[in-house]
C-alpha cells in the first residue's frame, strides 16, 4: 500500500539530470525559467544554420551542439539525426551522461496553478519519475502515491508496489498541442482547464507523446527515445515525438516500466502556422492509420531484455511490415539501427546499460 504521506523536500537531482533544449532562434525563454533551471546543466542542440550564434543567458551551465558538432561526433552515423526539425533534440539524449533528462521547447514558459502560484515543472517531473507507476490496474483516484490520495477499494494488494517510472509526460496550458486540421478549425481554442492529476497510462494502451514538456529516466528507457527522420529532405514532420512515444510505450509495456501523464503544466505561448504544419503532417495523417495497428500488434520476444534489443527488434518489424506503406519506413528502420549503434558507441556498456533487473514482461 502507498506510504503514509510525509512532507519531505523533493531531491534536486542536480548532478543527475540534464535539460535538453532544441533551438533555432534564441534562448530568451530561459530567463523566466531561471529560478527553476539554473542549478542544472543544459544541453542545447542548435538546429539550422551552424554559423549563427545562439545567445545563452548569463549564469547557465551548458554545452551547445550545432550541426557541425553532430557531424564531427557521429561521423557517418549523423545521418540518423534530423535537420531543420526539433527532432534533432534526441542527439542531446545520446550525448548526455546523466540518469534523467528533461526536454522542453523554447516557446514554453512557466505556467501558474489555479491558486496563482508559479509551477515548478521540473520539480513535478522529478517527483513523477521518482515515484512508482501503476500500469497493470487502473486506480480511479489517479496517482495513489500522491499526498491526499491512495489505492481505492478493490485494488489488488500484490500490485500496490507499482512499477518503476520511465517517462513523465507533462501537459500544456494556453496553446494546446493540436494537429493542423484541428488548428485550422479551432484557431482560437485555448486550453484553460487545469486538471489536477497525474496518472499512469495503462499497459497495452498507446498514446500521443508530445516532446514539448517531457522527462524520462535515461538509464531505463533512453535508447528508445529516438525522434526519427523528420524535417529537411524527409517526407514528414511533426511526428518525431509521436514515433518515439509509440516505440517507447511498446518497450515500456514489454519491460514492465511505467509511463505517467498529467501534471506538470507549462504555458505554451506560440501557435505554429497551421498551413505549414499541414504540409508537414499530411503524409503522417494517412500513415498513422497504418502505424497504430502496427504498434498495437507488436510483440517482442522474451529474450529481448534490454531497451536496445527491443528497439532493434522493432526496427526489424518496421522494415518487414511498414516498407510497403512507403519506402520512408525502410530508411527509418535503418536509421533506428544507426541510432542504437551511435548510442552504444557514445554510451559504452562499462557504464550503466539500459537493462531492467526483472526485465521480462508480466
Amino acid at each position: 500500500m502507498a506510504q503514509p504521506s510525509t512532507i519531505s523536500p523533493v531531491p534536486l537531482l542536480r548532478d543527475e539530470l540534464d535539460i535538453v533544449i532544441p533551438t533555432i532562434r534564441n534562448l530568451d525563454f530561459l530567463e523566466m525559467w531561471r529560478p527553476f533551471f539554473q542549478p542544472y546543466h543544459l544541453i542545447i542542440v542548435q538546429d539550422g544554420d551552424p554559423s549563427k550564434t545562439i545567445k545563452v543567458p548569463e549564469g547557465f551551465d551548458y554545452e551547445l551542439y550545432n550541426r557541425n558538432d553532430i557531424n564531427r561526433i557521429l561521423g557517418p552515423k549523423s545521418s540518423c539525426i534530423s535537420f531543420k526539425d526539433s527532432a534533432c533534440r534526441c542527439f542531446g539524449y545520446m550525448v548526455s551522461k546523466k540518469k534523467y533528462i528533461y526536454t522542453i521547447d523554447d516557446d514554453c514558459f512557466v505556467a501558474k496553478d489555479p491558486s496563482g502560484k508559479d509551477i515548478n515543472a521540473l520539480e513535478q517531473h522529478i517527483k513523477n519519475l521518482l515515484s512508482p507507476s501503476t500500469p497493470f490496474f487502473f486506480n480511479t483516484l489517479y496517482d495513489p502515491y500522491r499526498n491526499g490520495a491512495d489505492f481505492v477499494r478493490g485494488y489488488p494488494f500484490s500490485l500496490r508496489e507499482g512499477a518503476p517510472t520511465a517517462v513523465s509526460h507533462g501537459l500544456w496550458l494556453n496553446i494546446p498541442d493540436y494537429d493542423a486540421p484541428t488548428q485550422l478549425v479551432k484557431p482560437l481554442e485555448r486550453n484553460t482547464r487545469y486538471v489536477d492529476a497525474i496518472m499512469t497510462i495503462p499497459k497495452g494502451t498507446l498514446f500521443p507523446m508530445c516532446g514539448m514538456n517531457l522527462a524520462f529516466n535515461r538509464e531505463l528507457i533512453g535508447p528508445a527515445m529516438y525522434f526519427g527522420l523528420m524535417g529537411d529532405g524527409q517526407p514528414i514532420g511533426r511526428y518525431d515525438d509521436m514515433w518515439a512515444g509509440w516505440c517507447t510505450k511498446v518497450i515500456c509495456d514489454h519491460l514492465g516500466l511505467g509511463v505517467k501523464t498529467g501534471l506538470p503544466y507549462i504555458w505554451h505561448s506560440k501557435a505554429s502556422n497551421p498551413f505549414v504544419n499541414l504540409k508537414k503532417e499530411y503524409k503522417g495523417i494517412y500513415w498513422q492509420e497504418e502505424l497504430i495497428p502496427f504498434f498495437q500488434s507488436v510483440t517482442l520476444p522474451k529474450d529481448c531484455t534490454t531497451v536496445q534489443q527491443c528497439y532493434i527488434e522493432i526496427s526489424k518489424q518496421v522494415k518487414a511490415k511498414l516498407s510497403k506503406v512507403d519506402d520512408y519506413f525502410s530508411k527509418l528502420a535503418d536509421a533506428m539501427v544507426t541510432w542504437i549503434e551511435a548510442w552504444d558507441e557514445l554510451n559504452p556498456s562499462g557504464a550503466k546499460s539500459a537493462e531492467v533487473p526483472n526485465g521480462a514482461s508480466k
Binding site: M1, P4, P114, F137, F138, N139, T140, L141, Y142, G148, A149, D150, F151, V152, R153, G154, Y155, P156, F157, S158, L159, H169, L171, P176, D177, Y178, D179, T182, K186, L188, E189, R190, N191, T192, R193, Y194, V195, D196, A197, I201, P202, K203, G204, T205, L206, F207, P208, M209, C210, R238, Y239, D241, M242, G245, T261, E281, I285, Q288, E289, I292
Partner: protein, 419 residues
Amino acid sequence: MRTPSCLLPLTLDSAVLNLSNITDLSPLPDHILIELFLRTLRAGKLTERVLKLFIATGKDEVFSLIQELNIQVTVNPVLPTRTLNSDLTSFMNAWRPIFSRFHLIIVKDLDLKEEIKIPEGFNLDVYEKPDIDRLVGTSTSIIFSGYACRYFGYLVSRKKYIISVDDDCLPAKDNKGFLVDAVSQHITNLTTPATPFFFNTLYDPFTEGADFVRGYPFSLRSGVTCVLSCGLWHNLADYDAPTQALKPEERNSRYVDAVLTVPARTLMPISGINIAFNRDVVGPALLPCLRLAAEGKFRWETMEDIWSGMCVKVICDHLRLGVKTGLPYVWRNDRGDAIASLRKEWEGVKMMEEVVPFFQSLRLPQEATTAEDCVVEVANAVKEKLGSKDPVFARTAKAMLDWVKLWKSVGGCSSSPGA
C-alpha cells in the same frame, strides 16, 4: 471565448437551477419565457411538472415550441436505502434540486425493519420486501439485501439510463464552489462518445475547450457509445478498510476536473457508490452476484460492486463499448469504523488476487453479441476456472445465470446488441 455576463442571462441560468422551487411562470414576458424554456430544455430539466408550468402560462409560442420538439425524460435515479438509517429526509432534501425532475426508484433493503421516511414532492416508486417477493418469486438465488437491493431497481426500471447513488452521499461542490449536478454530468458522459482504443492526453475530447491532440488517429475520432459512467467521491473516498484504518484522517479534497475513457482491456475497481449506465445496452451486466461470506453493511465489507464492475468492463471491451471515469463527484459522509472492520476476515481483499488475473485473461467468443450472452459466457468461465478455488465463486457463477433468467423474465425486453 466568453461574452461578458449580464444580468438577464445570469438570472435565467439561476432560474433553471431553481426550477424545483418555481410554481408559476405566467408573470414572465414572452421572450424571457421562451428563452427560459430553451435553456431548461438544453439543461435537460424539462420534466412533466415543469412542462405543465410552461403550458399553464397559456402562451402560443410555448405550445408551438413543444409541438416542434420531441421531449422525453429518460433518466431514472435508483436509490437503495441503507440499513442503519431509514430516514431519507435529509438525503432527499439535499438532492432535491437535482433529483426532483426525475422519476426515482427507491428500493428498501430486505434487512431493514423500520418504515422508511421520504419527504414530499418527488415522483417516485418504492419497492419493499413484499414487492420484491411478488415480482421475483423465491426460486432465485439472488438476494436483494444490503447493497445488492439496488439491482432490483435496475431490474424493474424501464428507462434508458440509470443513475445510482449511495444514500450516504450528498451533492459535492466543484472547484469554483458551485454545487455539482451529478445527474447532468453522468448523462453528458453517457451521451457523448467514449474513446477506449487510444489514449487522449487532454482527456475527454468531446468536452468544451478540449479536443483530440496531435497524433490521435483520425479513424478513431468518432469514438464508441459510452455505456457506463463512474463518478468519484469527495471527503470519504472509496478506500478499503486497511487503507482507511492506516490513514484515519485522510479525506479526499482534490477536484480533478476531468472525465476520461478507461482504455480497452484495462481493468479498474468500479465502485457502486456513484455510477450511471445505459440500461438498454448493458443492464444485465450489472449484477448482484458476488456475496462475501462475511458480507457487511459498510462499503469496505463488500465486493459486490467490484465484481460487477469487472464483469461489465470485460463485457464492454468485448462489445466495443465505452466506460468513462472521473466527474462527477459526490460528497460522501463519514461513517463506520475502519479498524472495527479489520477484525472481520479480509475475504474480499484476498479474493481480488485471484479475481484480477482471471478477468485480465478472459476472452469472450465472437458469438456473444448481447450483454446477456456475455454474462452467461462469463458465468461459465467463472465456474470452470474459479469454481474450484473457493465455493463463493461457484455460487456466484450460479447467481449470474439466475440473474440473466430474472432479467429476461422481469427485466422487460432483452438488451440491444452493442450500440
